[in-house]
């Protein structure tokens, strides 16, 4: 295997692992809020979180490019204060990937929390336990299948990401060139052998992840969890 091939796989893996790790940290509190709050703005937040599931990746990519651009206040602020330019960088792609995979993390977690009997939470409160102790020691351990589903779906979705990465990151080897883009690029160059290797790896990884999801949720209807 040549260095460029491995480098592309490394960038793909780094992007998927980082996206998943960040989403576990921000997805759990969002899922908790969506599962239990009764604010009137909740449907709007729910809709925003789910938007990446229905929007074409190019739309998200376009908006992210607009936001990152130094011509707009956020991009200008990043550029002036921190000397950071997010467009066409790994970090820029990572932020977009986090936003794009958000519903794949939040929705299974939210549905998992909702399916727990209300009395578990109330029992923990009446036993004197705070909301955070209840969340980490009672609620999260009891939604393990949802947690595994959320992690596997987010990971699989991140390694398969194409449109957003292409719009924001382009195709820079070692920086933003991920396997899905490499396949497109190799096919364009009529380099089918390399394209085939990338494709097979993506196919195998996704297949293993989905088998994992279905095995941990043997008793449950997976699509109802999403």
């Amino acid at each position: 295997m040549d260095a460029a091939f491995l480098q592309t796989l490394w960038v793909t893996l780094k992007l998927a692992v980082s996206t998943t790790a960040i989403l576990i940290i921000i997805g759990l509190p969002i899922a908790y809020w969506l599962a239990y709050s009764r604010y009137t703005i909740k449907p709007f937040i729910e809709a925003l979180v789910s938007m990446p599931m229905v929007l074409p990746p190019s739309v998200i990519g376009y908006y992210m490019l607009v936001i990152y651009s130094p011509r707009n206040w956020f991009g200008a602020w990043l550029s002036n204060v921190f000397d950071i330019r997010l467009a066409f960088s790994f970090e820029g792609v990572l932020i977009a990937s986090v936003i794009f995979s958000l519903p794949f993390m939040v929705q299974p977690l939210q549905n998992g929390l909702r399916s727990l009997p209300e009395s578990l939470r109330e029992a923990s409160y009446t036993l004197g336990k705070s909301k955070s102790v209840t969340f980490f020691r009672v609620l999260v351990p009891n939604i393990k299948p949802s947690l595994i589903t959320a992690i596997a779906l987010t990971f699989a979705h991140s390694i398969g990401e194409f449109g957003v990465v292409l719009m924001i990151g382009g195709n820079m080897p070692g920086q933003t060139r991920v396997a899905s883009i490499a396949i497109y690029d190799e096919v364009q160059s009529l380099n089918f052998a390399t394209a085939n290797r990338y494709a097979f790896i993506l196919f195998a990884v996704s297949f293993v992840l989905l088998v994992t999801i279905y095995s941990v949720n043997k008793k449950q209807d997976v699509w109802r969890m999403i």
Binding site: S119, L120, E122, A123, Y125, T126, G128, K129, V138
Partner: protein, 297 residues
């Protein structure tokens, strides 16, 4: 501060299966009592329990535990369930499936004390299950874990929401003894929601009858349920299982708490307020009952 008088004066609008209902409760509960909240389902018993636990907020009123105000609508005080030092045993037990029996009890302790956990496991006959997850346990075992967990919290007030409703008669008698034992051991003020008359008589030192959201009677179980005008020598409580009309009379079949079948002849005006499922008392008026030892016993 242990075992203080509980003062309740609250109002709460609620929606039940029978429509809208206004819960209006004003009562005082004395320390160390075992109170039964008795009434049909949908009368507001569980809601009152949840108000005491801090899980339901009343529309207005005051709840005081000794000198501590738990709820006061005028002063906008509503102490969280965590700060009330109570234990609520839920109808579905609400055991944590991710923890073993022992871990469930450990979790409830304000300060970890493994020796005390072992003691509780022994009292409730749970030693052999201590390392088991709770999902595989039977209803009776789950109930004992829930009770042990509720005690482990060392509450000032123990609330039990129909703890024995899903358990068969024999097991229920056994568990009623355990609740009585737990109450005697700890002397904690205990409130139990029940619609089983037998249970109320066996356990409660005081009973509060709730109907359509209001207290209709309260006092000692004997005083509340025995009509003083009755000079009867036999009084059996039970639930109406069947009402058969035969010519000018009706035959009412009553099943008592220990599954004895009693058939009573009743006239039209006797059964005016009676229907299947209603708790009743069967008593004798005019004759002296005869007692003799059962043969072969």
């Amino acid at each position: 501060m242990a075992n203080d008088i509980i003062y309740i004066d609250v109002e709460k609008s609620m929606f039940t299966s029978n429509g809208k209902l206004k819960l209006t409760i004003k009562t005082i509960i004395h320390p160390g009592e075992l109170i039964a909240l008795f009434g049909e389902s949908g009368a507001g018993k569980t809601t009152l329990l949840r108000i005491l636990a801090g899980l339901v907020k009343p529309d207005k009123g005051i709840v005081k535990f000794g000198n501590t105000v738990w709820f006061d609508s005028d002063k906008h005080i509503n102490i969280s369930p965590q700060a009330r030092n109570i234990s609520l045993m839920f109808q579905d037990y609400a055991l944590f499936p991710n923890m073993t029996v022992e871990q469930n009890i450990l979790f409830a302790q304000p300060e970890k004390d493994v020796k005390k956990v072992t003691e509780l496991l022994a009292i409730f006959g749970l030693m052999e299950f201590r390392k088991q997850k709770t999902n595989g346990l039977s209803g009776g075992q789950k109930q004992r874990v829930a009770l042990a967990r509720a005690m482990a919290r060392k509450p000032q007030l123990l609330l039990l929401d129909e703890p024995l409703s899903a358990i068969d008669y024999e097991m229920r008698t056994l568990l009623q003894n355990e609740i009585a034992q737990a109450h005697q051991l700890s002397d904690i003020t205990t409130i139990i929601v029940s619609h089983d008359l037998n249970e109320v008589f066996r356990l409660a030192t005081q009973v509060i009858c709730i109907e359509n959201g209001s207290i209709i009677r309260s006092g000692k179980p004997d005083d509340v349920f025995s009509d003083n005008r009755i000079s009867g020598k036999v009084q059996i409580t039970g639930i109406i299982a069947r009402i058969e009309k035969q010519d000018t009379i009706n035959i009412v079949t009553v099943i008592s708490g220990n599954n004895q079948i009693i058939k009573v002849i009743a006239f039209e005006n006797d059964i005016e307020n009676l229907k299947i499922g209603v708790s009743v008392m069967v008593y004798t008026k005019a004759f002296n009952p005869v007692i003799r030892k059962l043969s072969n016993v």
